[in-house]
């Protein structure tokens, strides 16, 4: 396996280099997605399947989709233009500066590697395993994310919601989105795939309590199925009332989380202190609402700005499959 790890590490470095040096944006996006996939494999090798799932779904899949949708909005000529103007990477000055930074970076990395060799693995695993039984779930990652350090997760959902608010504050997008890929194959494939995606998403959500999975990967898969539906030209027509419903769906994850925390506080337990017998159910409730919200938020980020309400018929960008 050591050889495999070595090749994996080398490939990662090569892909990063390719990502940064490639001259057309399309190629850069492709190498970035490949990098994300290999990174997921690296996480598996590091025995962190949860991070691998998240990396594969978000780092490679959704980020790739986001980058492609950005490319699609750029004027066609721009996407194919070299990123670095030719001629800038030559001359003795350039090589002197580049050489200096490379040498400095290499020395730094070498010092890092040699001085950190005596470090032992960080230790919160022990105390965590001892307390796992009290957390209400069996998967230590879920226990950390939704019980021990639930505040961090709450805030990460807030970050995601903030990103959506930011995207919406930048302006409107035409709706229905014109991002359909003209492919005769896609609608049929999507028709077959959507149920599978949904099944996977909810199974990931449900598995979170005892195995790798949970709200973030589940939400990402949900969003991925939504993106595929958008690409195949299926959008859901919903009345203006749908817009205000959409706002609720987007904020449901955070709202349920905060309300759970505050109501537990009002009941005398303290902020987000789960009573032990309810812990499992509370975590499931929070995780389910967070998963749906995360899916909707990631999809909203893909769509871009706030769907344009003004002309004719406003629609709901969360094409939650029916």
């Amino acid at each position: 396996m050591a050889v495999f790890d070595l090749i994996l590490g080398l490939l990662l470095v090569i892909l990063v280099r390719k990502c940064l040096s490639i001259t057309d944006m399309f190629g850069a996006v492709i190498s970035f997605m490949a990098f994300g996939l290999l990174m997921a494999v690296a996480w598996v090798r590091l025995e962190a399947p949860d991070i691998a799932l998240a990396e594969a779904a978000i780092g490679s899949g959704l980020t790739g989709a986001l980058l492609f949708s950005t490319l699609g909005r750029l004027p066609h000529s721009e996407t194919r233009q070299p990123l670095v103007p030719r001629g800038s990477g030559s001359g003795p000055g350039y090589w002197l500066v580049t050489g200096f930074w490379w040498a400095a970076a290499m020395v730094l990395i070498a010092t890092f590697v040699f001085s950190f060799q005596e470090l032992q693995t960080p230790g919160l695993g022990g105390p965590l395993q001892e307390r796992l039984a009290e957390s209400g779930v069996l998967n230590p990652v879920t226990a950390v994310l939704l019980n021990f350090r639930s505040l961090d997760t709450l805030m990460e959902i807030a970050v995601l919601l903030a990103a959506v608010v930011v995207a919406w504050s930048m302006g409107y997008v035409d709706w229905p989105a014109r991002q359909t890929i003209p492919s005769p194959l896609l609608p049929g494939v999507v028709r077959l795939l959507t149920p599978v995606f949904l099944l996977v998403a909810f199974s990931l959500l449900w598995r979170g309590s005892h195995a790798p999975g949970g709200a973030f990967p589940g939400g990402a898969v949900l969003a991925a199925s939504g993106i595929l539906l958008l690409l195949s030209g299926m959008t859901v027509q919903i009345s203006p009332r749908g817009m205000s419903w959409l706002r609720w769906v987007l904020s449901a994850g955070l709202l349920v989380f905060v309300l759970a925390g505050v109501s537990l506080m009002a009941a005398g337990f303290g902020f987000l202190v789960y009573p032990e017998q309810w812990a499992g159910n509370l975590i499931l409730l929070i995780e389910a609402s967070a998963g749906v919200s995360i899916g909707a938020m990631l999809l909203a980020l893909y769509v871009g700005g706030e769907p344009d309400m003004a002309p004719s018929q406003p629609n709901n960008p969360v094409s939650r499959p029916q």
């Binding site: 960080p122 021990f148 609720w248």
Partner: protein
Amino acid sequence: MISSQAPILIPMTFLFAAMLIPLVGAVNRAAAHLTAVLGSALALYFSVIGMQTTLAQGRISYHIAGWMPPIGIEFVMDPLSAFICALLCGVTFIVMVFGKRSVEYEIPQKEIAFYSLSMLLLGGLAGMVMTGDLFNLYVYLEIAALAGYALVAIGDKRAVVSAFRYLVMGTVGATFYLLGVALIFISTGTLNMADIAQLMPMVQDSPAVIVGLVLIVLGTALKMALFPMHAWLPDAYTHASTTATALIAPIGTKVSAYVLFRVLFFVVDPDHLRTELLNLLQIIGYLGAAGIIWGSIMAICQSELKRMLAYSSVAQVGYIAVGISLASPLGFIGAILHALNHAVMKCCLFFISGNMRLRLGHSMIPQMTNGLRKSMPWTSAAFTLAAISMIGLPPTAGFFGKWYLALGAIEQSHWIFLSALLISTILNVAYFFRVMERMYLKPQEPEGVDYSEQTIVRSEAPASMLVPTLFLALSLLVLGFANAWIVTNLIVPMIPGWL
């Protein structure tokens, strides 16, 4: 009841308001503004109660979700965090009151996003101040940063570009911070600041910890716009809407400075700080001194009021860095007092630029004439008072922060710092008097037209904007007179025992 829950209630109030605003705003736009004002008032109330309790009974520690560290996250309200938090909430409340007309005028149709993002920003900043956990701090830092980028981006046409630069620089800073935290976590096995402080003497000689600390300081310095990492700041502040700038400028960089205080004076071992990390402190101080001079010189060169104030902010961050670098009680008092004074002064000055934009349509310094003192007498008066305080003339507040810093520099015979302080005062005079001269003395149009009292229409800013401006300007005098009380009752209790 409230007092023991205050540490978590403050950030959650802001967060709740941030969620409520888009939902309420979908029904009624005016309600969004009201929610923001009420939310920040509630947070201010909680923080004042928390501060009172902290001063009377010592630090409040709150264990989120009931888990003790190192597994769980701890929120800590001690005199330092309570003071900074009260400052944040106070400034926010005033800015939210001021914001209504200015936001309507400068960024129409974007009020709801603006208020929601402001509350998110504050939720992030308050969390950064309250948390006692290094990783949790990073999460809050992300929230505050993301909201900050967006607030900066909602501005004039060039705002998006400057926001993008801010985003790139801010992300680099946050990444440095996270990397540093990871290295310290590897070495100590805990993320809780108090735990790390106890474990520090055992691991502090390992390269991982030292590199980690340097990375944390570097990332934080980038976030607080310490010279020469300030390049993102002037553009970001200039092109954002006035209300956004008035919100971010007084408190955004201060919270990063607070993180520096927290890490250097409360997490690092004091002996270690005095011996091996002395170089780090010195570098922070010299960069601060360089920033004081550079920011002031650049401020003199600007022709737009907001941009001038932005460069002045670079200089003011330098004062705080100098105070940190002195690592003495006087330096500590000076830095904190200056953070308070500067927050009030900068907020007031940005309000003034907002008033001018509303009534004149611009805030270009070369186009200002003495018509201003007749058309906007109160705004001009407030500007004068704030400018005098920025320069540092007694009895205004600005004098006392600089006074303590100067005493601290003399105490340690740091003549470079002292001369930077003195030179910057002269430079401050140059750039503020340049504006005041136009405002009060420059005749309007020389050619033959008689601009007597009648021809100039009195057009003072509306009360909702003028009252906060005047309130801040007057509070500069109050803070100046009350400085001895503030120092003995609020600032001295927060100085760590070893200092």
